[in-house]
Symmetry: C2
Subunit: 706 residues, 2 copies
C-alpha cells in the first residue's frame, strides 16, 4: 500500500490519542532542576538520585552548531550524530577530500583534526533568577520600557556571572517567560575530529528514509575536546553498555531539544498554520531547488552545497510534517479543547483569572507579528540576503556599534558574556565559496523583491537599479569580508573603519541597518515582549492546574526525557522496535543498491565478518524533537545504550502535542556502533576507549535506586 | 567564472539591446496569412511564394499534448522532439518497459506502437472572421453580455465550419482580441510511435544543461499518422537536407509558440512580476519537491513520475528566467519607454486615442484579477486538486451538463466542434497511478488550505473534517473514474447517473462546481472580456503605428519565424553556432560520466563508427518560445535542416521582449540526426524514408524566388 495512504490513516488514528495530560504517558522534556520524580516513580518505580542527575547532566554536551552529544570517555571523547558533525566535516573538507562522503578516522591522537569554529557546552550549574529578572520589570512599565529593562537585567546577570565564575553564562527564558534560569556552561572550543563513517551509511536511505522507520543508519561521529592542546580530563562521562537497551526497558534521553510550541494558544498555532509554516516551506523549497540545480552542475558544486542541502531538505520534511499536523482538524481540536478547559478554569478560579486576558494578548501580539512578518524576516532576520558575506558584514558593523554601548543597552547577541562565542563564529576559517554564495544571494534578493514588492524603498535601494542576479554578483565580487584576516582587521579597527569602508557588502549593511534595527525594535516591543508577558500568565495558570508537574517548551537547553523501548502498530501490523545490521544489506538490495540506498564499499567488503544479527537501530517513546540529534540514550544505570538520530514521521507533530501511540524517537544501538567500529572500520582504539569507560566512569558510583 | 556571474553580466548587456522595433531584427512569430514579406525582402532578399507558404504551413504539425512537429515523408512520418513525444512514451510505458529511458525502435511498420490519446493537427485553411465576431458584440453591451454574445458567435462559427468541412474548426483570438481567425485543421488521432532514442542522449545534460548552450542532445522522436489503419498519404512534407544549415544562412521555423506577452501593458507585466510568476514558481517548486521525494523512494516511483517531473523542472527553469527579466529594471524600463511612446502618439493622433483609455482599462481588469487570483486558480483552474481523477470527474460532470445546453451557450471547451477532441482525451487509456495521484492531491489540498485559509468555506467543505493527506487518500480510494470503462459508461449515462453517483470524487466536484462556475463567470466577465476589449484597442493603435507590420502574441497556433544561423558573444568570447557529435563525448568526460552527463550504452559502443565532426546542435536568431519545441527548421528551399528543441538562457525573456543580441533558438542538426539514426541505432528504414523524401516532396516544386 502506498506510504501516503498509510500516513493518512496513521495520522487519523493518532489524532484520537493526543493528550495534554502528562500523568499517563512518557511525555515531557523536563528540566534537570525539576525532573519528573513523581511520574517516574509511579510509572517505572524509578527514583533518580541527585548524583545520578548531576552525572547525567554533566555527561551531556551541547553542539552550538545545532545538536547534542555526550562524553564517552575520561579523555574528552564526545559522541554525536554524523549529521550533527556534518557542519564541522563540511568546513574541514576540500575539493580533494570530502570528509562527509569519505568519512574520517584518526588512528592516533596526533592525527585528530582540529575543527575551525566548533563550540561545545556542558551545563554545570543552574540558578533560578526569575525573581531578579521580574524585579527589574515593573508591572506599570509600557512594553518598550519593560523590554529594555528586561534586556538590561539579563545582560547584567550574565556579565556578573561570567566575571565571577569564568563560565559561559546564559539567562534562559523558560515557559515562554514564566521563569528565567541562569545556566552556566563549561565551554570547549578546541574540538578535534576523531572518527566519522561515510555518509552513505550514516545517512543510508537519504531523504526518502529520513523521518521513517525501520532504519539502518550508523549516524554517529566522534570528536575529542582539548584543553591546553591536550585531551581534556573529564569527570562525568557515560559508561558504554555492551548489551544496549532491551525491549520495554526504561530509557532516558539527555539532550537539547531545539524548539516546541506546545504552550501556544490556538490563535498562535493558527498563525503558524496560515502564515509562518507555509512561508517557511516556500523558502525552504526554493532554497532546496536552488541548491539542487547548483549541485547538479558538477560534483564539486554538489560537495560545496551538500551540508546546506541536507539541512534544508531535513527542515523541509520536518516542517511538512508539522504543517500536516496543524492542518489536521482533529489535532487542532485537541488544542482547542485544551484551551477551552484552561479558559473555563480561569473563569471560576481567581488564581487563574489572568489566563483569559493573556490569551487575548497573545492574539493581539500575533496580529502585530503578522503585519511585519515578511519585512522583519527579510530585512532584520536576513532571509532576503542569504549569503555568508552579508551576515559577516552585518556582524562586523553591529559588533563595532554595540560594543561602544554599556552592556545593559546592547542587543542580546552582543552582550559582554556572549562576545567570545560570537567571535569564535565570526572569525571562523571555514571556507566560503563565492559561486555558491552568489547563487544563494541572487535567489534571496529575488525573493525579497517578490515578497516586499519591486517598488518597496528597501528593495529599490538594495537592487540599485540592477536585477537581483546582477546585484548579487556585484555585491559578492565587491566585498573582502570572506577573508578572515580582513575580517579581523575590520573588527579591530572599530566603527570608524567600517563606516569609511568602500566594501560593497559593508556599504549595503550600513545602508540597510537603520531600517533593520527599527524592525527589530518594533518586533521586540510589539511582539516579543507582549508574548512573553502573556505567556508568563498562561504558564502560571498551567502550573497551578498541574500542581507544578509541567515542563517548559523546548529552548535548545538541556532536558531530560524518558520512555520505553517499544515498537508500534502501523496499518494493523506490528513494527518491531529493532532492526539489525543484516537488515541494512536487505534494504539496499530491495532498492537495487542505487543511491541513496547504496552501501559504502567498506560495508560491502566487511559483510562476511559482521554478526548480521547485531541490533542496529531502535525506537523508544521518549519525547524528543530537532536539536535532540546526538543525545545519549541511557538506562537506569546511566549506561549508554544508544544515540538519538531521528524521529519517525508520526513524531513530526511533537512540535505541538505529544503522542506515544505511534510517534517514536529513533536511535542507533550501542551494540551496532561497537560492531561497526571494530569490524568495518578497525577503529579498535576508539572501541577500546569506549569500553574502557566501563571501568572508570564516575557514573557507576552514583547509580540510582530502583 | 561561475555561471551566475556570467548570467548577470549577460542580462545587463542584452537589456541595452531590446527593441520593439522589428524593422532591423529577426523578430516575430508571424501569421501565415500575414507573413513578413517586406522585412524578408529587405533583410534577406527573399520573397516566399504562396505555394512556398502553403507547402510549409501544411507540412507543419501541432502536437495537442503541447508541442510542434512536421511531416517528413509522404507516408505520414512525423518528426518531433523526444521531450514532446515523452507524454506519449510515458503513457505507453510499464514497470517492465520504460520507453522514455530505454527508447523505442519499430524495425517494421507492423511494430509501430499505437499511442493512447495523441491528437495531431495540420492547419489547412485560415479565414478572417473578425467582422462576424465583432458584429455580434454591440459596443453598448455590458461586459457580461458582450462576453456571452462573443462566446455564442464563436461557438456557432466553429460548429458551422465543422459541419460544412468536416475539419476541426477553432476560432483563434489574435492580438489579445484585435482579430479573430477561423483555423481549420486536419486531425489525426491514430498516431503510432516509430522511433525514440534513450532519454540519456535526448536530454543529455539534464536539468543543468536545459536552456543552456553549447548542447549535445539528440532530442528527436518519430511518429507516424495512420488513417483507416494504414499510413496516411501526405501531400505536403519536408525534404530532408543532408548538408543541413550553414553559417549565417537564413532559416525559418514553422511551429506553434505557446504564449508570449509582448503586447502587455506595464501594469499587466507588473502583475506578472509581483503576483503570477512568484505564485506559479511557488507551485512549481512545491510540485518539483513533492515529485522528487516520491520518485526517490524507488525506481518504479521515479518512472511513474518522470514525465510530470521533467515538465515541472522545465517550467520552473523557464519561469525563473522570465521572472529574472521582469525583475530587471533595465528590461522593464524598455517596456515603460515603449508604452510612453504609445501614449504620446495617442495624445496627438485621433486614430490612436482609444489606446490611452485602454491602458487604464487593462489596469482595472488586472486589479479585478488580482482579487480573485488564488480562488480562481485553485477552485476553477483546479490547481487545488492536482490529481487526474479530479479533472476526469469534473469533465464528466460538465460534459453532461453542457451538452444539455444549446451550443451557443456552452462553456468554450464543450462547444460542439471540440467534443471529439475532448473525448479523445477523456477516454484515454493512459495509466493512472493511485499512489502518485494521492501524493499530488494531498500536496495540492494542503496548498489550497494555505492559500485560501483553513476557515474558507470551500476548504472546510473539501476537507470534510480530515487532514489534506487523509482526505486525498479517501477521495482517490473512493473513486472509480480512473477506470476507462466506468468513465465511458458515466459519460453515456448522462447527468442523472452522475448526479446520483456515490463516487467520492464525483461527489466532490458536484459540491464544488457551483462555486467554481461562479468564479469562471466572474473571471470571464470582469477580467477576460475587459482585457480583450482593451487590448483590441491597443492592438489597433499598434497596427496603425507600424503600418500593419506587427505580429500577434503567441497563441499555440501556427507561426512563421525566421533568422540566421549565428553564434553569439558571451563574456567577450565567441560561442560558435555549432557543436559536433564528438563534443558530446567530451562533455560527458568533463562531467566524469555521471548522470545526467552519462551517455547511453548505445552511444558508448558506437563511438568508433561515428564521424565525430558531424554537426550535432546549432543556434539561430529565430524568434521562438515554449510550444515551438519540435518545430522544423527549414532553409529557403523549404528543406529540413534541423529541429528546434530549446532556447538558451538569454532567450528566456522572449516572453516579453525579443532580443537577438545573445538570445538564441537551439536546434538539433539534420546531419547529426542522420548520423545517429544510421550508425548508433541502425534505424536505416527511418533514415531511408527521410532521404527518399528528397525525390518526392511537393515542396521541391514550389521553391521560392530569391
Amino acid at each position: 500500500m502506498p506510504r501516503s495512504i498509510f500516513f493518512a490513516t496513521a495520522l487519523a488514528t493518532l489524532a484520537q490519542c493526543f493528550s495534554m495530560n502528562t500523568a499517563h504517558s512518557d511525555e515531557g522534556m523536563w528540566l534537570f532542576n525539576n525532573p519528573p520524580r513523581k511520574i517516574l516513580k509511579e510509572r517505572y518505580d524509578f527514583e533518580p538520585t541527585d548524583q545520578w542527575l548531576e552525572h547525567v547532566q554533566q555527561s551531556a554536551v551541547r553542539f552550538n552548531s545545532g545538536g547534542s552529544g555526550s562524553f564517552v570517555s575520561g579523555d574528552g571523547l564526545v559522541m554525536t550524530n554524523h549529521h550533527v558533525g556534518a557542519d564541522a566535516l563540511q568546513k574541514l573538507s576540500t575539493a580533494e577530500h570530502d570528509l562527509i562522503a569519505e568519512g574520517f578516522h584518526a588512528k592516533t591522537r596526533d592525527k585528530e583534526f582540529k575543527c575551525v569554529d566548533l563550540e561545545l557546552n556542558v551545563l554545570m550549574e543552574i540558578d533560578d533568577v526569575t525573581k531578579e529578572v521580574n524585579a527589574a520589570v515593573k508591572p506599570e512599565m509600557p512594553a518598550a520600557e519593560a523590554q529594555k529593562a528586561r534586556r538590561a537585567v539579563m545582560n547584567d546577570i550574565e556579565k556578573a556571572s561570567l566575571d565571577k565564575t569564568g563560565l559561559r553564562s546564559d539567562v534562559v527564558t523558560l515557559y515562554q517567560g514564566g521563569q528565567y534560569h541562569l545556566y552556566r556552561y563549561k565551554k570547549y572550543t578546541d574540538v578535534r575530529l576523531v572518527f566519522a563513517p561515510e555518509k552513505a551509511i550514516a545517512f543510508f536511505g537519504g531523504d526518502p528514509d529520513n523521518f521513517e522507520y525501520p532504519r539502518y543508519d550508523l549516524d554517529v561521529c566522534f570528536f575529542r575536546v582539548y584543553e591546553n592542546d591536550k585531551p581534556a580530563k573529564i569527570k562525568h562521562f557515560l559508561t558504554w553498555s555492551e548489551a544496549g537497551a532491551k525491549d520495554n526497558e526504561l530509557v532516558f534521553v539527555a539532550g537539547h531539544p531545539g524548539r516546541t510550541d506546545r504552550l501556544n494558544t490556538v490563535d498562535h498555532l493558527e498563525f503558524f498554520r496560515d502564515k509562518t509554516f507555509p512561508s517557511q516551506l516556500n523558502t525552504l523549497r526554493r532554497r532546496e531547488v536552488t541548491l539542487k540545480t547548483f549541485g547538479d552542475r558538477s560534483l564539486e558544486n554538489a560537495r560545496r552545497a551538500q551540508d546546506d542541502y541536507f539541512g534544508i531538505t531535513n527542515s523541509r520534511k520536518a516542517r511538512l510534517g508539522g504543517l500536516a499536523g496543524l492542518q489536521d482538524p482533529s489535532i487542532m481540536n485537541v488544542k482547542r479543547e485544551d484551551e477551552a478547559k484552561l479558559l473555563k478554569a480561569a473563569s471560576s478560579n481567581p488564581k487563574l483569572k489572568d489566563a483569559k486576558s493573556a490569551v487575548d494578548e497573545v492574539e493581539a501580539a500575533v496580529n502585530q507579528w503578522r503585519e511585519m512578518y515578511f519585512e522583519f524576516g527579510l530585512l532584520e532576520g536576513g532571509s532576503g540576503f542569504n549569503a555568508q558575506h552579508f551576515h559577516i558584514a552585518r556582524t562586523l558593523l553591529r559588533l563595532a556599534e554595540e560594543t561602544g554601548k554599556p552592556n545593559a543597552d546592547r542587543l542580546r547577541e552582543y552582550r559582554e558574556s556572549n562576545l567570545e562565542s560570537l567571535k569564535q563564529e565570526l572569525f571562523s576559517e571555514a571556507p566560503v565559496y563565492d559561486d555558491l554564495e552568489i547563487v544563494k544571494l541572487s535567489d534571496s534578493l529575488s525573493q525579497l523583491t517578490e515578497l516586499l514588492g519591486a517598488e518597496h524603498p528597501a528593495v529599490v535601494a538594495v537592487l540599485d537599479g540592477k536585477s537581483p542576479r546582477e546585484r548579487a554578483a556585484i555585491l559578492i565580487q565587491g566585498t573582502k569580508v570572506a577573508d578572515v584576516a580582513t575580517r579581523k582587521s575590520l573588527a579591530e579597527g572599530g566603527l570608524k573603519g567600517i563606516e569609511d569602508s568602500n566594501d560593497a557588502m559593508l556599504r549595503l549593511v550600513r545602508m540597510l541597518d537603520p531600517q533593520a534595527r527599527k524592525l527589530r525594535k518594533q518586533y521586540e516591543e510589539k511582539v516579543e515582549e507582549p508574548l512573553r508577558q502573556a505567556y508568563a500568565k498562561i504558564a502560571q495558570a498551567r502550573f497551578v492546574m498541574s500542581e507544578g508537574d509541567v515542563y517548559p517548551d523546548a529552548t535548545f537547553t538541556l532536558r531530560l526525557a524518558f520512555g520505553q523501548v517499544k515498537g508500534f502498530k502501523e496499518q494493523g501490523k506490528e513494527v518491531p522496535p529493532w532492526t539489525t545490521i543484516g537488515g541494512a544489506y536487505e534494504h539496499a538490495a530491495a532498492h537495487r543498491n542505487i543511491d541513496p540506498f547504496q552501501l559504502p564499499e567498506s560495508w560491502i567488503k566487511s559483510k562476511d565478518k559482521l554478526n548480521l544479527q547485531t541490533p542496529f537501530n531502535f525506537v523508544s517513546t521518549a519525547d524528543i524533537i530537532g536539536g535532540n540529534s546526538g543525545s545519549p540514550v541511557i538506562n537506569r544505570d546511566a549506561e549508554l545504550v544508544g544515540i538519538i538520530f531521528d524521529g519517525n514521521i508520526q513524531s513530526l507533530v511533537l512540535d505541538f502535542v505529544y503522542t506515544d501511540e505511534q510517534g517514536r524517537a529513533v536511535s542507533v544501538h550501542s551494540a551496532g556502533i561497537m560492531e561497526a567500529l571494530r569490524k568495518v572500520y578497525k577503529a579498535d582504539e576508539v572501541a577500546d576507549e569506549l569500553q574502557a569507560s566501563r571501568k572508570r566512569s564516575a557514573g557507576r558510583a552514583s547509580r540510582a535506586t530502583r
